[in-house]
């Protein structure tokens, strides 16, 4: 089963295919493109409206963008576009497309003028329209032949030309920058306007617009070009140009409801009754004012004060202080008021140099603007709250304010008088419980300081810094040395305990010397045997220790061989071996020797051990 939405989608798709197929077939057989131009009237008076219509028909008419308007030679001013309309007709399977663009113009220059043909480009071909000649006359007499014929049968359309229009009236066309242009939009009518509404606000780019307050505008009579009109100022606006140059104030558009009476020839009593507006029919009509060109002059560079910030008008400067004799921490208010006519909103904050002894807060700014009586005027007030913190005679230097006077065409600078505030010390000596104190500080207010310290532990040199002292450096270096020493000592111990050969070798000298000194104790003929035994022990023990050989049963040849293995001096080895043999000989086959001989041997043994120790 199919869902209903899907059904619809399908249908739509089918329709779209069908429709595009039709368009495709018809366009391929369409007529060539034609362009034509027409106007609603060929003869018109100044300030009257002209409606220009450009019709495009045939192939591609609906795909061409709005054509470019030709140069109107200054005779006609464009008020706006009336938009475009399009019609598609299909007759006997042939489709014809017509598109028209409508433009509203206003006659601004009298004379005869030919509106040049309008060119459009389509698919590389250029198409041209016809040209239209129009005649613009000074007075409104020309377009009124129909009225002259029969005033009773005034067609409503004809009546709109000059019996209902709006004018933009400016007070001047040459202004300085920021000098206001007062524009009054005045509606002129000879027909009965039941209501109106502003359909298009004037384009005022490049201006700061300030609308005047206005209620329901009063109507009055005014005679223009010998005709009597009912006029009303429907809008008044002050425009402050923001930059120099030529500016255009755009047209104001108004939609009016115009009552059109059904004119009947009869003088029936009922006619006057039915003449009542209640029974008349209304017609809607759009009218536009003419754009206004304004020349905006730049500020003269000559004599421009430094404090000038672009304010134009006529101003007054007031500055005052509420009290000139104050105590510290009492607030004073400095009020600066700038009043006058001009653009109040752009008034800058004046440069006030407040002495730094004052605590100051952001100023309070109030402005009041009056938009009545044809000028924009008002005042701007700056209120500064100042709190003096220090007793002194404080001066507030003159406040400077500059503006440009457009009437005189020159700058004016206003100064306020210099203000002197005498600040005296507040009641409390120094201490001020003001807004600047924290809760903790407030707690301390009124307390006395604590008493002095009666003794001082020790005095130090002023500027003494421990880390620059010798003690500091010494205490930093000494433990490091200790650490290095102890690491070395531990390494030494480890070698001793872990390596017997090393340990024996280290101990050899000490042991040999101990035995030799023992031998020395037997240095006598009577103890000859013991002496030689000890000396032998010392020599063999030393060699055995050094060579890591078992001390018992070591024989001279083995020692000799080992010594040679260690690359020792040959003569030293020989001497050593000889000493060992002498000792052995004397031990086991004692011969009579003198004490002198024993002493000599002792000396030689000692020397040999020392030499060997060195040689190893």
């Amino acid at each position: 089963m199919m869902k209903p939405t899907e059904n619809i989608k399908r249908l739509l798709r089918f329709r779209a295919i069908l429709f595009s197929a039709i368009i495709w077939t018809t366009i391929s057989s369409a007529q060539p493109l034609t362009v034509s131009m027409s106007v609603d009237k060929t003869s018109l008076a100044l300030n009257q409206q002209l409606v220009l219509t450009i019709d495009l028909s045939g192939e591609g008419a609906n795909s061409i963008a709005a054509p470019e308007l030709p140069d109107m030679g200054g005779y006609l001013a464009l008020l706006g576009s009336g938009g475009s309309s399009q019609s598609i007709q299909i007759i006997n399977g042939r489709m014809s497309v017509q598109k028209s663009h409508t433009y509203y113009f206003m006659a601004v220059k009298e004379g005869t003028f030919q509106i040049p043909p309008i060119k459009v480009n389509y698919k590389g071909n250029s198409y041209e329209s016809n040209s239209v000649t129009i005649n613009i006359t000074k007075t409104a007499a020309a377009p009124a032949p129909s009225r002259q014929q029969s005033p009773q049968s005034v067609s409503p359309e004809a009546g709109m030309g000059d019996d209902l229009f709006v004018r933009a009236i400016v007070n001047k066309r040459r202004v300085y920058q920021n000098e206001p242009v007062i524009v009054i939009y005045r509606i002129y009518t000879q027909v009965n306007v039941s209501s109106y509404g502003i359909s298009k606000l004037p384009e005022t780019s490049g201006f700061w617009a300030e609308d005047f307050d206005q209620g329901q505008p009063p109507t009055r009579d005014e005679i223009l070009n010998g005709k009597k009109y009912v006029v009303a100022d429907i809008k008044r606006v002050a425009l402050f140009p923001t930059s120099p140059g030529n500016k255009t104030i755009g047209p104001l558009g108004i939609d009016c409801e115009v009552r059109v009476q059904s004119h009947r020839r009869t003088n029936d009593i009922f006619d006057s009754f039915f003449d009542d507006p209640f029974f008349s029919r209304t017609m809607k009509k759009s009218i536009f004012s003419k754009p206004v060109e304004v020349e905006v002059l730049p500020f003269p560079s000559e004599g421009r004060p430094a404090s000038f910030s672009g304010v134009v008008g006529d101003f007054k400067l007031d500055a005052n202080i509420d009290k000139l004799d104050v105590k510290t921490n009492e607030a004073v208010t400095l009020k600066i008021r700038i009043s006058g006519t001009g653009n109040i909103k752009i008034l800058p904050q004046p440069q006030v140099s407040i002495p730094s002894d004052f605590q100051q807060y952001e100023p309070k700014v109030t402005e009041s603007i009056s938009r009545q009586g044809g000028v924009i005027s008002g005042s701007k007030t700056f209120e500064y709250v100042l709190v003096p913190r220090f007793p002194d005679e404080q001066k507030i230097r003159p406040i400077e304010f500059s503006y440009f006077d457009p009437q005189a065409g020159r700058y004016r600078t206003l100064f306020s008088p210099e203000m002197i505030i005498r600040v005296t010390k507040g009641a409390e000596d120094f201490v001020s419980v003001g807004p600047g104190l924290s809760k903790e500080e407030v707690r301390l207010v009124g307390q006395d300081i604590r008493f002095i310290k009666l003794t001082t532990p020790s005095l130090r040199s002023i500027g003494y810094r421990f880390y620059t002292s010798f003690a500091f450096v010494a205490l930093a270096v000494f433990p490091a040395l200790l650490l290095i020493g102890s690491i070395a000592y531990r390494n030494h111990l480890e070698k001793l305990s872990g390596n017997v050969a090393y340990a024996r070798s280290r101990r050899a000298n000490r042991m040999a010397m101990r035995r030799l000194s023992k031998a020395k104790g037997f240095l006598d003929e009577k103890t000859q045997k013991q002496f030689y035994a000890e000396a032998s022990h010392a020599l063999i023990g030393f060699a055995a220790d050094k060579l890591n050989l078992p001390a018992a049963g070591v024989i001279a040849t083995e020692i000799e061989e080992q010594f040679k293995h260690h690359n020792l001096d040959e003569s030293l080895i020989m001497q050593y071996i000889q000493l060992m043999q002498v000792c052995d000989y004397q031990r086991f086959a004692p011969a009579t020797v003198s004490k002198q001989d024993m002493e000599n041997l002792y000396q030689q043994a000692n020397e040999a051990i020392v030499k060997l120790e060195k040689a190893f």
């Binding site: 120094f430 040199s461 205490l475």
Partner: protein, 249 residues
Amino acid sequence: MAAILYIFLLLVPSGNDTQALMYFQKGTDAYQKADYRQAIEQYELAMQQGYASVALYYNLGNSYFKTNQIGRCILNYERARTLAPRDPDVQFNLQIAQLFVVDKIVVPAPFFLFKVWSDVKSYLSSNQIGVTALLFYILTIGVIIARILIRKSSVQAFARYATSPLLILFIISAFLFVVRVNDDLSTKEAVVLVDKVAVTSSPAQDATEVFALHEGVKVRVTDSSGAFSRIALPDGKVGWLLTSTIEVL
């Protein structure tokens, strides 16, 4: 070991200068008799001997307070505080004295970690943190030496547990010490001693005044040029003032 430490401590100049101590005593006597000018004179004489202590700075600050010289009062309290950052008397009196300073420099509360960091940094004076770092250094090395040399199992066990905490304490205190020494050498603080001084935008007599400072404000001296010093306030304001209007801590 202890003997060696003792010898080194003897090398630290204690400088108990008898002359200075005598002046200190005289000043204290004068203060007690409420003769504050005399007290100032005596304390200043003690300082002229080249010696100082927390008590001397503090008492001198008190004497200046009693004679309404708020600038010199704060200067001496601040000096006392650099020697003893946590002395409650110094802290209290400095707070009281600061109430009399006209300028209130409002500094927005710093991020709490920065506050903790600055509190930690200023908990000890630079000398105290130096001694602390050194103590942990010696203890750490002592424990390591004990582990190396003494084979006794009880000593070994103790030393093994003690090494890492001591090493960590040593690293922390050494880091703080280095930071403090760096701060000491790089920042120079001073106190305004005149009633009012104009702080200008450049080091010249006719330069534009940026703001004014009053007696007792502590500033950081960042530069100097001729007779002028460039100062910075805690709230970020900077400017130049005459060096003669301030005194460095």
